[in-house]
Symmetry: C2
Subunit: 227 residues, 2 copies
């Protein structure tokens, strides 16, 4: 006899934000540390400790004193649900309401906590169930599985001679996004790598050569030109 549906979440905005940042930090590291979380969330480390203890009691994270936290299965589901909300919202704001790609993040950041499952479903349908948001970031499907993009690679990993198409611009920073946009470095743009130096990449973009510092090239994902 099921007394409570554990899949149904009643989480506060703060709790969801913690889960989201734990998700991002544990994409690279095995555990998310207290200090790192405090930095990302803009709160004091002591606040993080208290909150992750609570999230641990709720079964959303696995927490080891002085070590760090990782998401549990239910915590991961909550984080992915939130990520789906965020990226669908970004796409919808861009496509339906004409938001610039530098404007979508801030609005989605707030609304992601408050839209219903109905809203999520209707946005997805309106958009034709997109698999990427305006920056090219993948959108988990309604079962919270990521779409497969097996050809996606980091521009920085490629050698001279590579030709392909930008599929993803990995930053949320408005100034940086505007810079990418200014340079034409947006999803769909085609480029080839002309030369690689220690701290930059010379690329050809729409017939024009550009010198692309590693700091920027690092944030671009590409696919080999197919067809």
């Amino acid at each position: 006899m099921i007394l409570f549906d554990m899949t149904k979440k009643i989480l506060s905005e703060a709790q969801e934000d913690y889960l989201k940042q734990i998700y991002f930090l544990t994409e690279t590291l095995p555990l998310a540390g207290t200090q790192a979380l405090a930095d990302k969330l803009g709160v004091a480390p002591a606040s993080v400790t208290v909150m992750i203890q609570k999230l641990g009691d709720m079964g959303l994270v696995e927490y080891e004193q002085y070590k760090g936290v990782r998401l549990s299965d239910s915590g991961l589901a909550a984080a992915l649900e939130l990520l789906r909300h965020h990226r669908l919202l970004e796409t919808f704001l861009h496509q339906a309401l004409g938001y610039g790609w530098d404007e979508v993040h801030e609005e989605a950041e707030k609304l992601e906590h408050y839209i219903s499952e109905t809203f999520e479903a209707r946005m997805a349908a309106w958009l034709g169930h997109p698999s990427r948001d305006p920056h090219g970031d993948p959108i988990p499907d309604s079962n919270l599985k990521f779409p497969l993009h097996p050809e996606e690679t980091r521009l920085i990993d490629h050698l001279v001679g590579f030709e392909g198409r930008i599929v993803r611009v990995g930053t949320q920073d408005r100034d940086e996004l505007n810079l990418f946009r200014q340079l034409g470095l947006v999803p769909g743009a085609t480029l080839s790598v002309l030369e690689a130096t220690d701290d930059a990449l010379r690329v050809q973009l729409n017939k024009e050569p550009y010198l692309l510092p590693h700091s920027l090239a690092q944030k671009l994902w590409v696919e080999k030109e197919s067809l």
Copy 2:
């Protein structure tokens, strides 16, 4: 020298909900009472007292002990801003995302607190700056002035022989909305009053006669058929 922009509000969801209910209650009465607010908001009277004291300190309401509250100018502006958000959202959810008119209220109730001014403006533009929401309720314009609908009258006030068009269905109750919809009593429908009894109105709607209890007729606003 202006230190703070008092027009820019940083109100909590709870505070906004109080202002909204004070607004609705003072549409009919000169002051909103503690008990009435408690009922509308689903909280204890003691909680209302504390909150309206705080809103009074913030200059959003005029509060007299044991008498009740009314909105100040800035409180009214905040309430109307919220009402604009709510009704634009209802219209947008209906028009853009295909929400039924019985579904829009609940979603708008939450989102109204969290959308930006940008979102408000883009919705309004997308919709062509509508002056009514899906139920026919008027939407304050961007200066928070209500659109003029001088011909709008209550169906209940009309005599036998009246012919006109429904412009507004004044309820948020889902079951009641579905009933109105079932009967074809929606904004735009034309009807005429055939007969008036003590507790009901016989009306003709799309060639079909209906017996409309006062409890329902009370909630309909109409305009005389122009053109």
